[in-house]
């Protein structure tokens, strides 16, 4: 009974976060702000859905290894897609003069030409 309640709560949370991610993508104005809502909220939405799936698997008596694999894969790739999208924004839509200085003497890596071989 409590187990069912937990799974139901996880499902509701997952749906809400998925919706919030999509809503944020539409609502936020600056391109860099839009990066925040989906990369995080949607990832947690899927994470909650995977937890619910793991919960039902345990209920039947299976070990939820595969759910764990998908979760690990999603949480490892989410920062990388966010980084690549941020870099695309830095070169396309963001004013470079608005960036703070590095404070280390060299420029940001995205604006430094790659070393010649």
């Amino acid at each position: 009974m409590i187990w069912d309640l937990l799974i139901a709560a996880l499902l509701v949370i997952s749906g809400l976060f998925g919706l919030i991610g999509a809503f944020g993508l539409l609502k936020l104005r600056a391109p860099m702000q839009r990066l925040h809502a989906p990369t995080k909220a949607t990832t947690v939405g899927v994470g909650a859905a995977l937890l619910a799936s793991a919960g039902t698997a345990v209920l039947v008596g299976d070990a939820p290894w595969q759910e764990a694999m998908v979760a690990v894969f999603l949480f490892l790739t989410a920062p990388l897609t966010a980084l690549y999208l941020a870099k695309a924004h830095l070169h396309g839509t963001v004013d470079r003069k608005g960036l703070p200085p590095t404070g280390t003497g060299s420029d940001w890596a995205g604006f430094t030409p790659p070393p010649q071989e």
């Binding site: 809400l16 976060f17 919030i20 809503f23 944020g24 609502k27 936020l28 104005r29 600056a30 860099m32 702000q33 990066l35 925040h36 809502a37 990369t39 995080k40 909220a41 990832t43 947690v44 290894w65 595969q66 694999m69 949480f75 490892l76 989410a78 920062p79 966010a82 980084l83 941020a86 870099k87 924004h89 830095l90 608005g98 960036l99 703070p100 200085p101 590095t102 404070g103 280390t104 003497g105 060299s106 420029d107 940001w108 890596a109 995205g110 430094t112």
Partner: protein, 163 residues
């Protein structure tokens, strides 16, 4: 000999585990395939990853992961509240420079990933000499506080995990 054949023993072990989970049954054939992949992939990629990361205390890494998971949950509630209830013209976004004390590439990668997954911040770039990270914060009325928080909460712990 063993060292040259297996430049990254933990990576090899991880590859075996991942392959066995992917095929999802324990048979001799999949074990052989897993061993083959665990030997070949680290050898082929070792040119891009010459040095071994040195862990000071693996137990602290587990505690760190637990802390980050907890922070991800809190962070998402915060971001959800900002997205849902804050009017779009009241959101104060900011670019923040975080100077780094960490030197190991693995530690910096882990810190950058942590920053992206936690409270309203995204790692956007790093300086060419690898001594500072460029971060975008969704809503940061006080950018200096965000920077100090990152340094105290995550970088300090990572400094103690990686040498």
């Amino acid at each position: 000999m063993m060292r040259r054949l297996y430049p990254h023993p933990y990576l090899s072990l991880l590859l075996v585990m991942v392959w066995l989970l992917l095929v999802n049954r324990l048979a001799l054939g999949s074990l052989v395939m897993a061993a083959f992949l665990a030997t070949v992939i680290p050898l082929l990629t070792s040119a891009y990853w010459p040095a071994r990361p040195r862990l000071q205390s693996p137990m602290r890494l587990v505690a760190y992961v637990a802390l980050v998971v907890w922070d991800i949950i809190l962070a998402n509630i915060q971001v959800a509240v900002i997205v849902l209830f804050k009017p779009a013209d009241q959101i104060r976004s900011a670019w923040i420079t975080v100077p780094l004390d960490l030197t190991s590439p693995e530690a910096i990668t882990l810190l950058a990933g942590t920053i992206t997954m936690t409270p309203g911040t995204i790692t956007a770039d790093f300086s060419a000499d690898g001594q500072a990270l460029l971060i975008h914060a969704l809503h940061a009325p006080d950018p200096d506080a965000v920077r100090d928080d990152i340094k105290a909460r995550y970088e300090d712990r990572l400094k103690r995990i990686f040498i």
